[in-house]
Subunit: 110 residues, 2 copies
DNA sequence: GAATTAGTTAGCCATATCGCTAAGTGTATT
DNA sequence: AATACACTTAGCGATATGGCTAACTAATTC
């Protein structure tokens, strides 16, 4: 993975990891609380968490034997920004195309 | 890959494929035009295109020996929507947390 | 201080992904 | 008719990913 977006999109490509994000969106949670809804073995799940943490989407602090995880905003915002940017270019092009089509239609009416 | 978002994010995780999206955002292009900026072999590149097409991000029509590709809006919009939704939940929670912190601060002042 | 709980480390296996080359198909172009 | 062009198909190899079990560490709880 080369840059921020690579690892971000890579991280979001897995349903388990997206589910973790969804759960964390409504508040911090421990590893076992996050693991509970998923059928997979804990080590397997931990790997998903590590991916999210390495990507900077999730941060965690260990207190005693409990590790508490929470979301980090920046990567989500950056990705959303990229998508919005693409969409902007693409929609403005569609607009131009549409007005062009109108022009053609008008010419044909004459 | 289970659902739309899985394959979408998976597709966007590769820099070559994001570059293709960026190029297509400003207008349709042929396979070779899309391939030109990339150093990889054509078959390798074609695989990336196929991923984008299978995901529904790109569509293409072949006329004569030239295949012309263009962007399809829906998947980008859906993904952006998902991110926006997550962010909304997460930001509203932050707001609640902040007001809670204010309350605590106020209590401590008393 | 023994047992339980919460997470961690190590290592295995199957499949997916990303790169390549070589050779083939069908459409222009000369 | 021969050549060149624009893909396309087939198949290889290396690495990454997502799952597992077994065994371990450290912090509570009884």
């Amino acid at each position: 993975m080369t840059n921020q977006l690579d690892s971000f999109f890579g991280a979001m490509a897995d349903p388990t990891r997206r589910a973790v994000i969804e759960q964390l969106a409504s508040g911090p949670a421990s590893v076992s609380a996050l693991h509970a809804p998923h059928k997979m073995a804990l080590p397997t799940f931990m790997r998903h968490l590590r991916v999210l943490e390495e990507t900077g989407i999730v941060r965690s602090i260990k207190k005693g034997r409990v590790r508490t995880c929470h979301i980090e905003a920046a990567p989500l915002i950056e990705a959303q920004g990229w998508l919005a940017w693409q969409r902007e270019i693409w929609e403005s092009r569609l607009d131009r195309l549409e007005s062009l089509t109108h022009d053609i239609a008008r010419n044909e009416e004459e």
